[in-house]
Symmetry: C2
Subunit: 187 residues, 2 copies
């Protein structure tokens, strides 16, 4: 039987207390994600394979919904900002909310039909992610980007689709600001 509980969310560090699970993605685990492979190898080697992001879960299998945080470090690879892998949900009826707590970023979304949208990520904005829209978050700032996510417990993650063909757009720094450009490698 499940019991109610107060879960502390630190909007600056992203810590979730208590949490049920967590994982860390080091930059080296994001091989193939960035446009500039040589720059990627260099940042991994010279930066000591930094952490790119962490995901902390509060997830109970007996409950239909779950939540947690994503903590994204600032950084760039060849002008591209640090980003998450990007995924569709396995369940085609499942959306998600990304409620930014601190930092700044862009949420890059792409529908199954190939439409592209972005949503600004900043404190006080809850991004609504409809079903069947792949989503990737991108830290465009100089501090951590921390957001609370909430979705169905069994929404599932399809990372493969985006890993294989990339997304149609890249988010890069141009003149000190984020710019959205076509991905020349989009398959």
């Amino acid at each position: 039987m499940l019991f109610p509980e107060g879960v502390a969310i630190d909007g600056i560090s992203g810590e979730v207390t208590p949490s049920t699970d967590r994982y860390t993605k080091k930059l080296s685990e994001l091989s193939g994600l960035f446009h500039d492979a040589a720059a990627f190898d260099k940042v991994v080697a010279e930066g000591g394979d930094p952490i790119a992001y962490e995901v902390v879960d509060y997830r109970k299998q007996e409950c239909d919904i779950c939540f947690g945080t994503t903590i994204m470090m600032p950084g760039q690879v060849g002008g591209e900002y640090f980003m998450t892998r990007g995924h569709f949900h396995e369940r085609k009826d499942c959306g998600e909310g990304y409620y930014t707590q601190s930092g700044e970023g862009l949420l890059l979304l792409e529908s199954r039909e190939g439409e592209v949208r972005t949503v600004e990520m900043k404190p006080g904005i809850c991004a609504f992610i409809p079903p069947e829209w792949a989503h990737r978050s991108i830290n465009t700032g100089s501090e951590k980007l921390v957001f609370v996510w909430f979705c169905a417990t069994d929404a599932g993650h399809d990372y493969g689709t985006i890993r294989e063909r990339g997304m149609r757009k890249l988010v890069v720094e141009r003149d000190g600001r984020p710019a959205i450009i076509d991905n020349p490698n989009f398959a």
Copy 2:
């Protein structure tokens, strides 16, 4: 087809922009909820039937999850703090999250089996509400209590069970602080 969107949530006012729906509960609509019926009539009459709380929705029927805010005014009726009606979900597998943005309160919960729990509501605490736990939020502070909720779009509300028999506990002010006492009227 649904499109992504950035939804602004004001953690102080509770405003949601854009929102899809909202409702306001005036105190008079909460008749029968408070222990002291005479005090209730007096507060309604002398206070000009104040707003007790508002609920603002961001809800798309084609998406499995939804979110919004609840904005609870401070106030008391015969020593009992302003509270929401309290409800179970109609779908027995549906939980909910209540993420407090500002103010202070108590979340009072009661399982189908009659177990009682409370969770402190204050900024940074996300209350986890498991399936099959009735929940009522109570503003124990002197300011608005604002929280973001998220749950399944079709979780449904069963208000009747609590309306008919009440909850096992009352939350009242004692020596300037909230105290949890037995409800003498619990049926």
